[in-house]
Amino acid sequence: MKIIVCVSHVPDTATKINLGADGKSIDNNGVTFVVNPYDEYAIEEALKTKESLGEGEVIAISVGPEVNKETIKKALAMGVDRGILLKDENPRDSLAVAKALADEIKQEGAELVFFGKQSVDYDNSVVGQMTAELLGFNSVSVVVDFKLDGTNIVAEREIEGGREVVETSLPAIITAQKGLNEPRYASLKGIMAAKKKPIDEKPAAEAKSYVEVVEMKRPAPKAAGKIVGSDASAVPELVRLLREEAKVI
């Protein structure tokens, strides 16, 4: 079976974010980019699924500029068979990204596609669900447990206060949440082997963006808080403030 995993290339969560000169994006200088952390769970699940089937091919696809190849290479080093870069040097909104992905998934003829639940840059949590709809695939998002039996799928997704057990079938899109698996590390052998794996490059299918960033800014700094006091002796004053000033209790 052909399995696709969609990967995005994002700033490491620990890096400091500085605003760019255009006032609409971040300054990439000095920012370390990594495979989107949730996509590592997606890659792992794709590889595990191929291994348990004993056959098949796993393809990693990314939409974006040339540098996204770094992330595709990381996927190849983890064990993905080949990569596709759908090139677009300009930023796109989520729906336009989904349209490019849907177009390629259709051409590849894959029936099982893994996504991360969210890109940790814009934190949208939407591209997987959008792609599923564009393709007419079934989908389950924020998945922490996944089982494939023939063409049937039983997945568990996280919701408020628990999990939903969801039954569906192929063709399907799954978006991965932390807890789904433990992503493997790329071995030295994997890194060497990745050098020989192909990355196809083609222009991303044209699509219009409807959500346009007009400004990026820092959140207003919180007014300096007050240290009410130290030790238990400060408790009555804290409770008074919570009642009379904040009016929360």
Partner: protein
């Protein structure tokens, strides 16, 4: 010209969610600004008192009903799409809950509509809608313009205060709908106990490594109980196995915006702050006066949690009993 605002009301076990009432309130306000009508739709089997949405300014609600619609399934997106088309709605509002996050992007793709997710504020500017949303785990905010004909907004829970409901009620129309075979359906709900989930709670008491060991977390539980709060945890204590991942607040856990967030023995690492910085009031108790949590706390006490928290519980009991 804009035509109509449609608010999706999410029900679970027949109960309409608080986040949906917030969306209703915003929907009514948005419609007033645009000079158009707002209405609401709820999909489910038995739904308790949908007319209550009238208390938040919505006059008309349609209940799309079928026994097969009790739990979430792919039928929701199909029904919502056809209802949006039927009434010619061009503004669609959701609460950014687990269901809203799944459904809104599907509607976006089906209706070829731009979607702004997890928004904190919005403004109407002529035919365009400008929304503000957090990016990079809240380290920055962006303003976005939605330029498509149909516009979708998903609202971060607890940010848009619904306030008290007025006594107004909405006119409810129940439509029995046909549901053919479900392709993606929820077959079971596994509850993580009867506990309140952090992402929905108005009050949260969260504990970190400063609690020293798993057993001592009972202190967090005691304070949470006294306040009717949900329990939250830092990643350090989740990784240590003291608490389940469902309670983790932060970049790799849940994003919360309660009215009151009390952090006990939590240092306030950037990844933790990412999940709770939009809380309305933050209280920190930590023995290290230099802990970063104090930089975003509204009220702080420097001291030992094992000494301060029992005193806090006593004091709250005292004031509650008048």
């Amino acid at each position: 010209m804009a035509n109509k605002v449609l608010v999706f009301l999410e029900q679970r076990n027949g109960q309409i969610k608080k986040a949906s009432f917030e969306a209703a309130k915003v929907g009514a306000e948005l419609a007033a600004k645009l000079g158009i009508e707002a209405e609401a739709v709820v999909i489910g089997n038995e739904v308790e008192s949908p007319e209550k949405v009238g208390g938040f300014g919505i006059k008309k609600v349609t209940h799309l009903k079928n026994a097969l619609l009790e739990n979430y399934s792919d039928a929701y997106k199909e029904l919502l799409t056809s209802y949006t088309n039927e009434i010619n709605a061009d503004y669609l509002l959701f609460g950014n809950t687990a269901m809203g996050k799944d459904l809104a992007p599907k509607l976006s793709a089906k209706l070829d509509a731009g979607a702004a997710m997890d928004i904190l504020a919005y403004e109407v500017e002529g035919e365009n809608l400008k929304a503000t949303r957090p990016v990079y785990a809240g380290k920055a905010l962006i303003n976005v313009n939605i330029t498509s004909a149909i516009k979708i907004l998903s609202l971060r829970p607890n940010v848009f205060n619904a306030g008290e409901a007025t006594t107004d009620t909405a006119e409810v129309t129940v439509k029995e709908v046909e549901v053919t075979e479900l392709k993606t359906k929820v077959t079971e709900l596994k509850k993580a106990g009867d506990k309140l989930d952090v992402s929905e709670a108005e009050f949260i008491v969260a504990g970190g490594r400063g609690l020293k060991e798993a057993d001592k977390f009972s202190l967090v539980e005691d304070l949470a109980k006294e306040l009717g709060a949900a329990i939250g945890a830092s990643r350090a204590v989740v990784d240590a196995g003291w608490r389940p991942h469902s309670e983790q607040v932060g970049q790799t856990g849940k994003t919360v915006s309660p009215t009151l967030y009390i952090a006990l023995g939590i240092s306030g690492a950037i990844q933790h702050l990412a999940g709770m910085r939009s809380s309305k009031y933050i209280v920190a108790i930590n023995k290290d006066a230099d802990a970063p949590i104090f930089q975003i706390a509204d009220y702080g006490i420097t001291g030992d949690v094992f000494e301060v928290v029992p005193a806090l519980i006593e004091e709250i009991k005292k004031v509650k009993n008048g």
